[in-house]
């Protein structure tokens, strides 16, 4: 039986190794909400659904299954904060549960390194979906101590909702899960042109052709700049990296002058639940370092 209110926290790469503020915020939020958060010791890269899967899909599946086994041993569902990790782990988990032939093939390989066997006992969850559907705007309302009165643009990224027939969260053409959740945190979400398209980082494109990646991203930024938000809200450290380094690149190479803070859903929620602005870590990011959350404390604290 999978333990209730417990998550095996899958860190991935970018969050722990570049944006530890997101790691800190996620733990803060989940623990305050009453979830137990377990370390997934010895986990590797998910591995990345773009670049790694492009080498050999079978090998990618085996490496992902090893990570899934670590959580199975903890009898806990996996929590991810990254669309890439979610994309890989959710897809492989679902596929191996459904496809006996591949499950056997994968287990044959896993056996070679010892105590690993994919059993298909857990689920893989994304923090945006846990917050959006399980905690919900109705549930977060009671546990926040302050709201941020700001206008934000929301970037869903690609692998959180797509492919819809595998993710089964909500339509990818007009999602509202994050908008509804952050409204409870005082955020007015502003729509912008081509809001749901890719940030241009995935699939190994950023690693292989930085210029092409920046052309896709540059168009995104232009559309965002048209609506002049207070900040950009994302749910993925890879999109986060793209929005950070991308604005920097456009400023240096395309004579732009962007300075939009880039904030992960976990960071925003942690702030509203009482984590100090200092730990949100904007001062260590590339963009919007000076940004201070506005808004006000709620009058009576209900915790």
């Amino acid at each position: 039986m999978v333990k209730e209110n417990t998550f095996a926290f899958f860190l991935g790469c970018l969050m722990p190794n570049r944006y530890p503020a997101i790691e800190k915020s996620t733990k803060f939020v989940m623990q305050k909400l009453g979830y137990e958060i377990l370390d997934m010791e010895r986990a590797t890269c998910c591995p990345a659904p773009g670049v790694f899967r492009s080498f050999n899909k079978g090998d990618w599946m085996v490496a992902a299954a090893r990570n899934l086994c670590i959580a199975e041993k903890l009898d806990s569902d996996i929590l991810t904060v990254c669309n890439g990790c979610f994309g890989t782990l959710q897809e492989v988990n679902k596929h191996l549960k459904e496809n006996k032939e591949h499950r056997e093939l994968v287990n044959e390989k896993l056996k070679l390194i010892g105590n690993y066997e994919f059993r298909g006992t857990i689920d893989v969850r994304h923090v945006a979906e846990v917050l959006g559907y399980e905690v919900g705007p109705w549930g977060i309302e009671d546990v926040i101590i302050r709201k941020v009165n700001a206008r934000a643009v929301i970037h869903y990224g690609c692998h959180f909702l797509k492919p819809t027939r595998i993710r089964e969260i909500e339509s990818s053409e007009g999602p509202t899960i994050i908008e509804e959740f952050v409204e409870a945190l005082g955020i007015e979400s502003v729509r912008f042109k081509e809001q749901l398209t890719c940030c241009g980082a995935g699939g190994g494109v950023k690693a292989y052709d930085g210029t092409a990646s920046m052309r896709i991203f540059g168009e995104k930024m232009k559309n965002i700049d048209e609506v002049k938000p207070d900040f950009i809200l994302d749910i993925c450290p890879f999109c986060h990296l793209q929005y950070e380094t991308g604005q920097d690149y456009l400023n240096k190479n395309k004579s732009c002058n962007y300075d939009y803070p880039v904030i992960h859903l976990s960071q925003l929620t942690a702030y509203c639940m009482g984590m100090d602005q200092e730990f949100i870590g904007l001062q260590y990011q590339l963009m919007g370092r000076e940004y201070i959350f506005g808004g006000e404390e709620k009058e009576e604290e209900v915790i």
Partner: protein, 200 residues
Amino acid sequence: MSENVEKYIKRKVYKSTSSRIAQKFVDAGLEKIRACINCGTCTGSCPSGRRTAYRTRSAIRRALTGDESVLKDIDIWLCSTCYYCYERCPRDIPVTDMIIKLRNIAVEEGYILDSHFGLANDIFYATGHGVPATGENNKKWRDLRESYGLPPLPPTVHSYPEAVKECQELMNAVGFRKLLDNAAKLKEERAQAAKKDKEE
């Protein structure tokens, strides 16, 4: 999809009429590529194609008709795996999976980009992470972790050197190591041949 179409796309590949690429798709259970009606919805949805020379429909078509030049076309590496085409294909073809399959075949035949080879070989295979925090260059990230009250290295493979070895063993066992070495070898051979051609 009607039974006829189902039968049609699952049919055997005949050597005389079809191609090596098509056979590999069939072997991988991706014979559905044959349901493509060349409508271009995938290209029309593609954020990458809008900004680069990459054309999804054309890549699919070339795979389908056995035009092997598609394997060495570096444009297939411009797909960001955003899944728009996958969502919208009127024939329900998992288009992104097809592009991934094309890349898998390309790598098998030694068409791997240097940046990706480095990522696979020097970073993932060596550390277990795609973006590591080990090494002198990454000290600032470990310091940053500590400033948040987190351990300097996360409790992943980074904290368990023997787990890095374990993953390398696994990658050797599945053939990933061999895949990389072979790709590097084929690439080198091709480079040598090209050099010789030029000299002559």
